[in-house]
Symmetry: D4
Subunit: 226 residues, 8 copies
């Protein structure tokens, strides 16, 4: 047996993924050991000039770190994301609208936002557009339509998705969120609703996966790079 009990658990980073795939290298922090996250934050910060994206990094853990570590990165509490610095502005010059149904969807919507920010992709947030009050999405629509791609986050019955899908011909990337109780089933109802939406051509992602939708937007914008 090569590895022994005392060998630290190595994580092999994929430094070249960004280049190959036009997608971010990211660390999913939930469930990871505090000490591993700390050593990663020390490796990827403003001082070292290296930057990767940290997702699902809880405030409890982040704010327990030494101040110099905290200062080395940009941390965003609501989305639980961190990175040392964003990549240069995306060459495509395209814009993404991030639309959310209710205030409870903010955590996931801001995870999309922060991933786009890290990738240097221009974007705008449109919050509280749920269709129980139909005028909200109708009022926001003209400005949304000035963007090139729409990421929409919704929980519960995700009715926003079908309505929005019928109003825009843009690529629509839909992320279910795990809000609600009872038959909301931790986001499974929203997920299934999005998958069977009567509006056509809607791309769906895992529950609460705001990161994934931003990556899909990046894949689309890769088409505009020469």
């Amino acid at each position: 047996m090569k590895n022994t009990q005392n060998t630290p658990q190595h994580v092999h980073f994929d430094y070249s993924r960004k280049e190959r795939l036009g997608l971010p290298e990211a660390i999913f922090c939930e469930g990871k050991d505090r000490s591993i996250i700390l050593s990663l934050l020390q490796e990827f910060n403003k001082n070292t000039g290296k930057s990767i994206l940290f997702t699902r990094l809880s405030p409890e853990i982040f704010y327990s770190f030494p101040s110099e570590v905290q200062e080395g990165v940009s941390y965003h509490t609501l989305s639980r994301t961190a990175f040392a610095f964003a990549l240069p502005a995306h060459a495509s010059k395209k814009k993404v609208a991030v639309v959310s149904a209710g205030s409870a969807d903010a955590q996931t919507a801001w995870e999309s936002s922060r991933t786009l920010e890290y990738l240097g992709i221009d974007h705008t947030m449109f919050e509280d557009c749920g269709v129980a009050g139909l005028w909200r999405i109708q009022k926001a629509l003209p400005e949304i339509e000035e963007h090139d791609i729409v990421i929409a986050v919704a929980g519960l019955d995700a009715a926003l998705i079908s309505v929005l899908g019928g109003l825009t011909k843009k690529p629509l990337l839909a992320v279910p969120s795990s809000v609600g109780y009872g038959m909301a089933k931790h986001g499974e109802t929203a997920l299934s609703s999005m998958l069977v939406s009567c509006s056509s051509g809607i791309s769906v992602f895992n529950i609460d996966n705001g990161f994934g939708a931003a990556c899909a937007a990046a894949r689309i914008l890769n088409m505009f790079l020469s």
Copy 2:
């Protein structure tokens, strides 16, 4: 053992339920023996002057019966319902709007319609109001609002319910339908979506249970009887 192998299977009718509950006595025919349904149709028809509601009575079975049996009742193919004659016009003088999202919801919507017809309750059908094309429900809304109760039938993600729930203050009775494939899960996604709708105060019924929603409307209209 009292009953023997050859004893016919008796069904005890609840002739007084209408009176006690203001609700119809109904026979759910799916899974019942053809011979039992035939004998019931012979008992409850125009000639005998007795009328109950038959639901889930398939055309294959109904049209296999002798013509005099067929002539004794009003049969409606799409909703698979039959009755000898409707009850007198409901004393409440209230009206029910039956709204459906797509053409695939018609079977369930018409089961509601026919149950209301049997109960003598005035009502109007509004079909194809799904919100993938938002103008459809918006166009129908003024006329829907002239009614007192709204029954809405939708499948897939049932997005119509949240939109409609935000547009009307009427009692809204929502019936999921079992249309679609894959994650539509035979109507379970629509059911869950309705139960977690961000619009408040929406009453939900079993999948495809157009009959039940009409009965709930009857319970409400019972309040207007002296």
Copy 3:
């Protein structure tokens, strides 16, 4: 990107919903930040003369607030609800019976009660009417029948609903509660039981959604407003 990391998360209230829909504006507090709830309680209290309904507001959070904030609202521990003051008595003069099966259903039943109280709707509680002891519901029935609408809360197998549905012709609004263990499945068994009840015309709501049933009662009572 318009919004920045430091922008407070705005919540846009729907001040006019009550007027449009005859339904309460409510804040679902579970999962919301303590600081957001505090600022809302400071905005909607006796001093400001504005009142909305707070649901799922835990005692731990409420009693951690400054005493002047606590004094500004009526808080009810069991139902976890708060509001500054109730709306004027409902013009319909109708009464709602809130019936529950067991003591474990109290939290949900009282959420209905408090929502009705906030809406100014007259109502009476009938607790511990579960049908394992059949005489309890039979004894309460005459007084229940003096009301216009029945909200019934039950968990486990929800057998109370079918029994009650067979005894009354009133509108019956059934709320499953998440009591029990094992195959109670956090209320899913009670929910499914209500949806397939052999009593007809029963309206069903999400698990533990006492608020929703009270809103549905309000929708019905809207019919009596001129």
Copy 4:
């Protein structure tokens, strides 16, 4: 390889199980080959003086057999059971009540009845006792109470079980039936309801397993044999 492609598929009967366990040897015919069932019916019939119980034997298959085979056994269409002759009257002299909620539960209730008949156990059928009409079970109760064990078959929400469990102190063996549609989930809702019934000490069996409940009754009656 010992067995070859042409070797008939042998079924080893447990001739001594009745003696050892006081339980019937039974053949579950669903899914079995027509030719295998035929050979078994030829082996266990009036002429050979050997009798075992056949369950789930469809009329289509049974009535396709030669008339002498049909004449050799007692076949019961509704319960889909067959046996050559019943065992002698059970020495316990105890009686079983078989109670069912609705006419759709008859198939399962009669499977219990026929299994008891085969075992020589005295019993009575009480059909259509569903609690949507509460007087039905109340009317039947005095006569049910003259029996020693109660088997109760119910589908949908199985509300009959909790009511009956609160009315009798007899052993109560509850069998869910797969009637209904949508959230009845082929009997799973009835099964879960029975398992979480607020009445205590209720024994539950697999969906549609009328045979199993009768066997459990036999296990209890075994206690009265010396």
Copy 5:
């Protein structure tokens, strides 16, 4: 509204249930308020001469009570049960064997044991009889067979039940326990396994419901009371 916010939540005891049903009145403590349990323990103890059964009463709560309250009842940590004193020895003079598969099933098995003890029913524990080591059940079998009823508790795949069901003709009451991880699904696999056991006539109860199986044993033993 009759009840007010300050009204204590009354629990109506069913003092006569024992007499009517031969079953215990029991308080399920899980999820109940500490103060309610305390007041109940003060009402039902050795000093007051009244005794009911408390189940799912956690050691954390019990041992937080004043010592005079603790001294007033017999508390059993593993089974989390309490009662002031047991009922007189059951007149039937029958004995129950409580068999469990592994040490992780002890909590549920002892809940059965303590319920039987409260009811005055003679019984014996047979622990660690899981069939992965087949000799364990085979060794215990002769002594088990000296009892009249068998309660068997098993988790995981519950293979003990089919083996035991094939070895004894006694009434077999099977309780699934929520041990294990992954596909043990908190006891659902054990429950389903018991329901489809190839041994016939096995009575099944809710997951971890040791109390229920003891009550079912009491229902059977009621048959021996004159």
Copy 6:
């Protein structure tokens, strides 16, 4: 009631959707009446110069129609699609690769292909690229990379998606197919696998929804229209 029993069921077409959304108007034929499909085929064919897309149109139904109806459209048996004529070549001049894992995924992959063909979008099929034989996808990769968007269809464990997602930076639209048995769960395992793929930014669609993925490709290509 406006509509009557004899009124034909009207379907309102959305003739302007193509223009508004850059997406096809399509008729989902499964579950629709043969006579309705026939009348639609008569309205949308080469003679009338109108063309929409028919999906899930079974060969049994299509080939039962009069030959002049059959001749009026291009029907594709494997994908069960029909249309009168394709739209003009898409102005974007982009190309889509449709990749499938096994021969059982062909039906869904070809539904994507035919939808793209109807929309005038250039595309290439790459079948049998499942990763159990890794060289297949590796061999096809260079040619796949010459396309702009990748649609990938896979069933079972859908392992192809994670592998492909790691090899290309193109937009990757993943469609689960309902092949397999047992724990393949009619495509739910493939769907869940795609949603949790460790490759980032993968868009997922409903089970067997080849049409939807093609529409999502169209939404992306809409970005290239001026």
Copy 7:
């Protein structure tokens, strides 16, 4: 688009898989077109000297083929398998025991048997060893122990697996079968039971996947090839 509507659907065989993996190339016929299967049977038969394994080939389809096609392969009705000729005797000289619980498991057990036969692996069938009659497995055990690997097929609660796993130290490959009704859940209960068996080190396969277990045995026997 390279492929056209009229292009036959090619299936690329992996002629070298046997060599590379020591595993059979197999065709899963369920759901495949009759014409495709026919052409494959014509390609792989005694005349062409090429042999692969066909699984899930229904008798209805097989016996509809021309007699010369039928004669070219060895077809086994119960297991629904076909092949032209078996591979030479496996060089390992090891033996496999195929054990099944009940007669309903025969189809899956024989699929294992026939796959082993095709692979030239010596094996013996042990049928009807279910543990409801414990002596059956105990009687067969000595002969089973003369084999090197044990494949065990069981449905329902799969109790045989835990018992057998405790009796032998051989590799134990467990295949759940989809027999039974209700909570047998088409084999999911058996599958879960096997996965959580209290006997250690049991390998589990998909429901009804007798082929897979035989392949796993082949993987083990590959270890004995030089």
Copy 8:
């Protein structure tokens, strides 16, 4: 009743299982009382010369024990396993490769590793071989192929399993891990993916059951003992 309330809960060890089965006796510590684990650690340690395997022993509990107890065993934090000393080197001289997809799978992979270590079986760890970066498994493959058995641990979509299954003819023992969120469903998606892998002959184990896969490897290696 033989046992009394105060009787300590005895656990009967199966000292001879190793001999009979070639499998380890193991204690699953999760959910067990701290005091029971302590007494077991005192019984099985270096001083007493007795060694068994402890699994799922949390660091919180282990490091709360007296230092002499800690010193008496080898504890491994990541895998949460402990044992006094390993068994002698396995006589088979075979080697096992333990392959894992991502760093989140380490806990389960190391449970396999430590079980093999305890059993004296030579093995090597290959971590971070997930197929989103295909070169990782391709780079490791030659060294993996120098081993005799492959244990592979993967979560999420478990795509590694199908790829690896197509690359090696060794016995492949696949363990799903409960990493991920949303539709990862605590490992159920990975489990189902493994069971339906298009690579043949893959043995599957319960979620996170690294111990079980090591035991299955031991069963295979038992074949090489004389």
